[in-house]
């Protein structure tokens, strides 16, 4: 187990370095990159920051200040060195500390991601199991129809519709009222219940279908037939079946939450929740490279960390999985 964990952690580290390298290359090495200096010309980001009609020496000053005038491998080495120590640099745009900005935004994104994921599990798993157990019943067909509608609705549309009805028409929700859990739990809940539902609808539909499929598949397995044959109560049979039918759900759940922690851009935008996704949008529109890099590193970290966690939990749930 220890060896397995060390190996996985090393791989996680390598993956993060690779992600940083790829993002860095996009902005600093590839032609057209905002940080790249080409044929002795200033980098676009420095020109952009120098404002209107700048004197060439001002552009040079800015490049020097940002370190863009140094060889690219030195820039990368310095960035990587700092990033591994947890220093993600300062925003080009507003001079804030990128790590602080991400940490400040993290609680909002975590509230959104975990809340929504609980909602979709609470809907997806029971509906999926019941549909599988009552196959071809009205309940099964009804929930599959709902699932089909759910997966077909894009979040941006559903979100806007939800705001339109619950905010503008019914007045039971108010966009832009988010407050941190630690400051005002009531306000926090009031601002999040609708985005949780919106974000959960698509995933819940997906999980319903997945759970139903898995349960049906497991029910045809030999050990279930054996369990039934030896006269085990149906409830016990189902308990056995669920254990292996739900392990893939753990994998999916881990990955989905990991991705959401990197920022639910559309949902955060529509409901004005100040999370990491909104930070990313702002950074991209203003060519704020340190923030873009910082958010990407964090997003990659979450996906890799959740992956690792899932593997460990998976191994604990399913004895067939071996560590080597």
């Amino acid at each position: 187990m220890f060896q397995y964990m060390v190996r996985r952690l090393l791989w996680a580290f390598v993956m993060i370095v690779l992600v940083i390298a790829v993002v860095f290359a996009i902005f600093f090495v590839l032609p057209g990159g905002a940080g790249r200096r080409e044929d002795g010309r200033a980098s676009p980001v420095a020109v952009l920051m120098a404002g209107r009609n700048p004197r060439p020496d001002l552009v040079a000053d800015i490049e020097h200040r940002l370190g863009l005038d140094r060889p690219i491998h030195i820039q990368f080495g310095l960035y990587l060195g700092r990033a591994l120590k947890g220093d993600l640099g300062y925003s080009y745009q507003s001079q804030y500390d990128v790590r602080d900005a991400v940490f400040r935004r993290l609680p909002a994104t975590m509230s959104l991601a975990f809340g929504a994921s609980i909602v979709w599990l609470m809907i997806g798993i029971p509906l999926g199991v019941i549909s599988a157990l009552r196959r071809r019943s009205l309940l099964d067909r009804g929930s599959m129809l709902l699932a089909l509608i759910g997966v077909s609705m894009p979040t941006f549309w559903l979100g806007l519709m939800a705001v339109f009805f619950f905010d503008s028409r019914l007045g039971v929700y108010n966009v832009g009222d988010y407050a941190p859990l630690t400051e005002n739990p009531v306000q926090w809940f009031k601002a999040l219940w609708l985005p949780w539902i919106v974000l959960a609808v698509v995933s819940a539909a997906f999980y319903t279908r997945m759970v139903r499929g898995n349960v049906l598949e497991v029910q045809g397995e030999d050990y279930i037939r054996t369990a039934r044959a030896k006269g085990l109560k149906e409830r016990s049979v189902i308990r056995h079946a669920l254990r292996s039918a739900l392990t893939p759900v753990v994998t999916m759940y881990g990955l989905d939450v990991g991705i959401l922690l990197g920022g639910a851009i559309i949902t955060e935008r529509i409901f004005a929740i100040p999370g990491i996704g909104l930070l990313a949008v702002e950074a991209i529109t203003s060519s704020d490279l340190p923030t873009i890099l910082g958010v990407t590193v964090f997003a990659a970290f979450f996906v890799i960390a959740m992956n690792l966690l899932v593997d460990l939990v998976y191994a604990a749930l399913d004895p067939r999985v071996r560590y080597s």
Binding site: R52, R65, Q95, D167, N174, R269, T285
Partner: protein, 593 residues
Amino acid sequence: MRDRKFLRLFAALLALGLIAAACGGGGGEGEGRPGTEEVSEEDIPTGGTLRIAGISDVDYMDPGAMYYTLSWTLARGVVRTLVTYPAVADFEEQNQLVPDLATDVGQSNEDQTQWTYTLKDGVVYGPALGGEDVPGVTGEPITSGDIKYAIERLFIPSVGAGYPNYYEDIVGVEEFQNGDADEITGIETPDDKTIVFNLAKPVGDWDFRMAMPAASPIPRDYVEKFDKKKDSDYDQHVVASGPYYIAEWTPEEQITLERNEHWDPETDDVRKAYVDTVDWKLGLDNDVGVEKILNNDYEFGMDVAPSGPALERVVNTPELKQRLINEPSLCTRYVWLNTTVEPFNDPLVRQAVNFAIDRANIKRVFGGPITGPIATSVVPPGMTGHLAPEEYNPFETPNMAGDMERAKELMAEAGYENGYDGKVLFVGASDPPHDKIAETVRSDLEELGFTNLDVKTPAFPNQYTQFYSVPSKNVGIGTSAGWCKDYNDAFTFLDPLFHGRNIRDSGNYNYSELDDERLNEAIDRAAGLTGDDRIEAWEEANRLATESAVWVPWSWDNETIIFSENLVNPIYNTFFSHIDWVVVGVEQGAGSN
């Protein structure tokens, strides 16, 4: 100046062709246009909160660094300048600057190389950002030395000034910037009330430059320590001089302004500051923001603006249309031709292209009349030097839809009767509606006889950074260029975009690389004049620039702003292209949730 709404508007404008007819021209001399009529003072409610819906944050809070239109809109109520734009509805009158911190507008010597201002009595600083009373600053008088430091720090790299170029004409700037001098010797402060700017060459629009946020007073003793850091963090400590101070700034989330009790209304003839608090919510989705303004949950949108179906609904609903401001944003969009690339080095070919291009069709694919009128010359309406289309339209064609016959005659005259089959690099942008604009221009050029166009359409705004601003790319024709004024004088258009001295290897804005001696002289001459002479001189330079035919201007953009039923006296100000919120009132409790 950078306008964040610009980018967002492109995406949805295509859908607007249908509503174009319903909206009329906008910006014309119509009666009762929202945003252009003042309400008498006794009808404006006082007190309460002005709620603003926003998407993007300010670029900087530091007035020396801020460059976005929305930041300047905020600055209107937080900092004061020596002179400023009056809060009146008439656009021409808006350009007649009035005293603000100074007792009078700038007094210049005969050749406009020396400008003098005297500060009013009773003008003092308010709290710093967050409401902190700074000892020795808050409640203390604003001095001429503070104005001097405001200008000096624009040349300190840590500040990241947005437009130091407008102050480079002061004597001694270079020495100060190089570190050879501790101060800008050309700025004299004989006493705490008087400031004299000595300029290396005549500058007739100095008052306009002194009305920009960068020229607002900065208390040196307090701010120097922030500016000495690698990157100045005065952003977090901005000291108010206007009627409001910044009580809260949570980046990308919220900006709150509260009344600055140290501001004396007796010293301020412009800002009426009727509301007590400004509550500016950031990070909203555009469509959600629009819906909430229409629902009277916010008083107006900062960069939230209706587009697509929402705009269609507003335009087609009479009650809502009364809450839509559609006025000039002082921006021109154009197709440009490179004078260093064959065959555009020949003025006749450039004229031919000016006649060939169907500007009406470009306007149509861009979104129709609500996006502003079709441009017929370089300088947009609302600025000095503007020429109305009915007075001046050198490349006039029926409905501005192009005249291919005339164009082909000019091509033949230039020796290209069979067209031009050499390779020409043609750069547009891939995002809608820029892709459609590139397509309509390409089809016109091919009809004119250009048979070998090398078309490139990078994602917006990479056409600027990768192609237009880089002369070595040898772009022949660019179809997605636009420029907005920095202040309401034609200098901010004609000098950076047309003067030969501004051609640069990178960060170049004179994309056409035009270096025309007559035009250079006309620009230099106009720049040193004042009053009516200046207006006439800019009109002449505008004619020369337009007739050089290096541009095919096709849009003078309009700004689109919606406001709530509760907002009283929302007059539009052309300087920051938004509602002049320092004179609005808010009806409390009516219609909002």
